[in-house]
Structure formats: structure tokens, C-alpha cells
Amino acid sequence: MTAARALPSPARYALALGDDALVLAQRCGEWVTRAPQLEEDVALANIGLDLLGQARSLLTYAGDFAGRSEDDLAYLREERDFLNVQLVELENGDFAVSMARLLVFSSYQLELYRRLSGSRDATLAGVAAKAVKEVAYHRDHATEWVLRLGDGTPESSRRMQAGLEAVWPYVDELFATSSRHGDWPHPGLVAEGVAVDPSSLRDPAMSYVRSVLGEACLTEPTPRWTAQGGRQGVHSSAMGFLLAELQHLHRSHPGASW
């Protein structure tokens, strides 16, 4: 496999955004048969499939730079070559953790895609424009649940707050442009109008999240540590298990199809 680090910068950018969508799609899929209700199984499966569709477009585009297919990139890359933020690989936890994650991630992704739909890269702009409506619904779904759980019973409120505490160390990485592992995205891409400066998304995304937390009678956590390095391929211990499940069928039966 061409190491992700060797790809040209537009491909790396598409790959990173595609990996966010791919990995969170896998986490959404894990909820199927485990959600509180059959209806919620379907809702989370739909959200996962929306994300998978975005991932397919972005990985296909990234792969075109290196003569690799979307399947090559999804199934045959090693962990160090995945460029997703660590927020999406975080284990599902209980339902409140997953809804806290979905609220933050979809708020970030909605602002990202709105801006990216004006990218000078026509493919990225097209993928983003199509995905805006999908992600708006993801954010709405998470919002409805955070409001109900946060402003529900003492037990639901306690667990929703605990969900926020579990997720908040991973929030900063969404908006970070540099860490001790390197810079992201490539500064040239932002200057050329291809990529979006993630730090510019923090205010609009987080002001929405804060308005939901306020209405839900929840408190924004102050994390004692923050995740970093996902964009450079540095991942948490959860990532290897996720990839094992995602990739094992394809690797055990190369070329299998149905």
C-alpha cells in the first residue's frame, strides 16, 4: 500500500475527510440491533449509510491520485495510514456517549461541508454540497436526543453529562491545524481555496453545540487532556479493534463479492 504520507496533499485531505466518515459509519453500524428501539436502529443505520456514501466518494477521489480503488483504501490500509480524527474511533459507549459524539461531529461536519461546497476543487465541492442536507439531519437527530436526555430524568441527565465528559477530550482535534505530530491540512491547500481551515469552523460549530447544551440543562466539560495526532495516523487503542472488524472479511477472502 502506498503510505498515506506519500500521497499528494489534495488526496491526503480527501482521505482524511473520507476516513472520518468511514470510521463513524462503522461505529453507527455497531448500534444496529443494540439501540434502545428498533426505530433507533434504523435511524443510526441510515446515518451510517449516509456517512458511508460520503466516504466512498472521498476515498474514490483520493485513490485516483495513486491508482487505488476505494476498497483498496478502506480494506488494505494499515492503522497508521488512516487519517481520521480520534473522535470517530472512540468506542460507542452507552447511547448518551454516542449522541454526544454525533452532536459534536455533525456540528463540525455541517460547517465543514457548507464551506467546502465552495472549494475550488470541483469534486470536493460536489461531495460536500450533496452531503450538507444529510449532515443537517444527523445534527438534528443528535440534538433531539441530547435535549431529551439532558432535560429528562435525573438518571438520563447524569448519563448525558457523563457522555459529554467522555467525548470532550476529542473535540479540540476537530479544529486543530497543528499538533506535536505535524500540521493539517497542508497550508498550501487552504491558501489555494481547496481545503477549509478547520480552526475557522470552531466558532460556528461550537456555538451551535453550546446552545443545545444550554437548552438541555447540561454543562460543557473542561477536559483535562486533549486527543491529537489522528490526522497524522496516530490513533487510540480502539482503532485497531475497529479496523479488525472492518477489514477482516476482505482480507480473509481477497476479491470476494456478492
Binding site: P36, Q37, R148
Partner: protein, 97 residues
């Protein structure tokens, strides 16, 4: 979780497939309240582009005819052939009647 499953009320879902048609009953689902029922209905019943409008109604709000009264309710209408407007000549120009 089993408590939640018992507590969530049932909702009947009506979907309008496209403009100009009326809402038709498509099924039912569980949801904690009307707003979530609408969202669940969107996910369960319109994920393949089946509709442009959704109504959800608490199942408990529907008054239904009783199967026990079926004969008295419906059988008398079965042999009133004169109630059907079938004795008119329909002009050729009239379509979709």
C-alpha cells in the same frame, strides 16, 4: 430499557407519496413524543424516497370500527346497486373516471 420499551407510545404513520395525492396509512412505530415519531417515521418509512409529507397520529387517538359490528356496519351497503352511478352513459371525452 424494557421500561422504555413499554412506556413509548405507539404512533400511526401516514405518508403522502407526492403532490396532489392524499396521505395514506403506511404503518406504525414507537416514539417517546410527536417530534421523535416524525423523525422515526422519516427513517423507517421514507428512506427510499417514498414521500414528500408525513403525518403521525397517536394510535390511542384513533377511534376504529369494531370487527364485531362488521356485519351491521358494512353488509347493508353490499346489495344497494342503485347507489352506484353505473346507469349513466359516460362520454368518451371524460377520462380517469
Amino acid at each position: 430499557m424494557s421500561d422504555a420499551r413499554r412506556d413509548w407510545p405507539l404512533w400511526e404513520v401516514f405518508v403522502r407519496p407526492r403532490r396532489g395525492l392524499s396521505h395514506g396509512h403506511v404503518g406504525s412505530l414507537h416514539a417517546p413524543d410527536a417530534a421523535m415519531a416524525l423523525r422515526n417515521a422519516r427513517d423507517v418509512y421514507t428512506r427510499r424516497g417514498e414521500g414528500v409529507s408525513i403525518w403521525v397520529v397517536p394510535s390511542a387517538a384513533i377511534t376504529a370500527s369494531s370487527p364485531d359490528e362488521k356485519d351491521a356496519f358494512f353488509d347493508p351497503a353490499a346489495d344497494k346497486v342503485y347507489r352506484h352511478p353505473t346507469f349513466y352513459e359516460i362520454p368518451d371525452e371524460v377520462q380517469h373516471l
